[in-house]
Amino acid sequence: MIVLKNSSELALMRIAGRISAQALQVGGEMVRPGVTTGQINQKIHEFILSQDAIPSFLGYGGFPASACISINDTVIHGIPGDEVIQEGDIVSIDVGALYKGFHGDNAATFPAGRISPEAQQLLDATRESLYKGIEAAVSGNRVGDISAAIERSIKPYGYGIVRKFVGHGVGREMHESPEVPNYGLPGRGPRLAVGMTIAIEPMINLGSHDVKILSDGWTVKTVDKSLSAHFEHTVAITDDGPVILTKP
């Protein structure tokens, strides 16, 4: 069942989204060589609590931290710890905040120092595909239109689009229906309606789309050890078109 939100619920989601986006900013500003992922997680955790919100990820399904921090070939769900960021790394931070019963969810991949042109192009292409997906998130379209827009945007680069993990509805639950894959056919899937709130999140690999889950049950890495980028926004479908809720 897809849950629609009314205007007062959307107002709360806007706040949850703002806090999530600001937390992402806090994390992004810390990305530089020499910093550990644990330090970034700690700052994000403190920031979310300072905003009277709760980190959505902490304890979700047993996840042990407030942010997922994934470096280079780690696609998503990296557990922050003692890993030190190196010059030339790309660092994906995924963070969500729960405010008065509603979740915000967003992610971005940040460069640490100077990165290779290939890595920069991967980041730019993934970010661009997210915005192409958001453009397609209008009432009357179907979920497949978002998926197809992302796939179309990535195809010319020949990158691998992660299939095993997808975007999702978001609201009172962190993960609600519908699933929002980053690949698919236009005109398929559930129809988008005013009041729906979804997290659109392309996860794009420089090489193959194949991923594996490590034995910790969380960390997802590319099988061919290629770099991976991840950008995400929580988006509301409104009469005036898609509105990005996760804006600082």
Binding site: V3, C68, H175, S177, P181, Y183, R188, A199, D210, H230
Partner: protein, 97 residues
């Protein structure tokens, strides 16, 4: 935080192909395909490779270490096929059945 489309053991509903309209369990991922079985037409030892866009998620997961024979799998999926997709929970977290 992204959503795992179908983890191993997930009960899924087929929306296309010969398997359309029935419930299956995810046995494993094979590249970009999902291998599904129902213990009847598609046995555990010979699961069917499906494109994941032709499957719908439920929030139920079978413990495949318990449901390890075709007979047990048929029994586990029977309540789903009796109820139909409209009656099956698809919200919230996954729960073991």
């Amino acid at each position: 935080m992204s959503w795992e489309m179908f983890s191993v053991g997930s009960v899924v509903f087929c929306t296309a192909g010969h398997d359309k309209g029935r419930f299956y369990v995810v046995v494993k991922w094979q590249g970009d395909r999902v291998l599904i079985a129902d213990g009847k037409v598609r046995k555990l030892e010979a699961p069917k490779a499906k494109n994941p866009i032709h499957l719908r998620k439920t929030n139920h997961i079978l413990d495949l270490s318990q449901v390890n024979t075709n007979k047990k799998l048929r029994l586990a999926l029977a309540p789903f096929n009796e109820k139909g997709m409209a009656q099956i929970e698809t919200e919230g977290g996954n729960r073991l059945v």
